[in-house]
């Protein structure tokens, strides 16, 4: 395994851990951006440069900006941070930690038999993805477009200003 690959993987994992342990939301978002960028690196190393680009542009770019906006709107301050600290007592970590660890261990155990086969060295180009996306999976793309539409409508509906409307 490449050193860069090791580094990227480590940054991903550590960043994710930092995300779930921060008390200030903005910090968490920044760590999440770091995580995602590192994940993009991982994707590049898997030969999926297209996916990596999308990861950076859409995820780390667009979605995270959404988070930042919302956090700005929420107007959080010191009391919130204190409350987070109160919520994140070590006792609270006990159950979830155990549960997550068990899941992790089980998953690792389950997936290990799969990892025997030899890797096939070849990259998948954007062309392949595009051809597949609009060939075999065109109906799925349509479905996803409906999903997006539904998300748009519901977000609009939920987020509209009730006091001002009819």
């Amino acid at each position: 395994m490449h050193a860069l690959a090791l580094l990227a993987a480590c940054v991903t994992v550590v960043g994710a851990i930092m995300v779930i342990t921060r008390r200030v939301a903005v910090h968490a978002v920044l760590y999440l951006v770091v995580t995602l960028l590192a994940l993009a690196t991982v994707l590049v190393m898997l030969g999926a440069s297209f996916a990596a680009m999308l990861e950076i542009i859409i995820y780390a770019g667009a979605i995270m900006v959404l988070f930042v906006f919302v956090i700005m709107m929420l107007n959080l301050g010191q009391p919130d941070s204190a409350r987070e600290k109160e919520w994140l007592r070590p006792r609270a970590w006990l159950g979830p930690g155990v549960l997550a660890t068990i899941v992790c261990a089980e998953l690792l155990y389950c997936t290990s038999p799969l990892s025997g086969a030899a890797p096939v060295p070849a990259a998948i180009t954007v062309h392949d993805v595009g051809a597949d996306l609009f060939g075999r999976y065109v109906l799925v793309v349509e479905l996803v477009s409906y999903l997006l539409l539904a998300g748009l409508v519901s977000a609009f509906y939920i987020g509209r200003n009730r006091a001002g409307g009819r």
């Binding site: 994710a16 859409i58 995820y59 919302v70 709107m73 890797p119 597949d132 939920i158 987020g159």
Partner: protein
């Protein structure tokens, strides 16, 4: 030659997934829950891409794109709910304060 084997991908993805799961379970602030959910989704996407690379199939990346869209929708709706709750004068964003649907 790819730098990452499928084995390693699975390892990283599993760890990421578990971290995300732990985050969802442990955090009471809904913003953090959403972020943890995103981490979990990313882990799943990573597995797809890895599998695609392993068997040399573009489907993996197609699924990645779809998951991306799903994540976008989920985030948008979730954040909209958060903003809505906040605007209605909810003091905290605690997910545990009663039944959310009754709002």
């Amino acid at each position: 030659m790819l730098a990452f084997s499928f084995n390693d991908t699975l390892l990283v993805a599993t760890v990421l997934f578990s971290i995300g799961l732990a985050g969802v379970l442990v955090r009471r602030n809904m913003v953090f829950m959403l972020m943890s959910l995103d981490i979990m989704l990313n882990a799943a996407a990573l597995v797809f891409v890895g599998a695609g690379a392993r068997w040399h199939d573009a489907t993996g990346q197609v699924m990645f794109v779809l998951i991306l869209a799903l994540a976008a929708v989920e985030t948008a709706v979730g954040l909209a709910i958060i903003v809505c709750l906040h605007a209605r004068g909810r003091p905290t964003l605690d997910a545990d304060t009663g039944n959310l649907l009754r709002g």
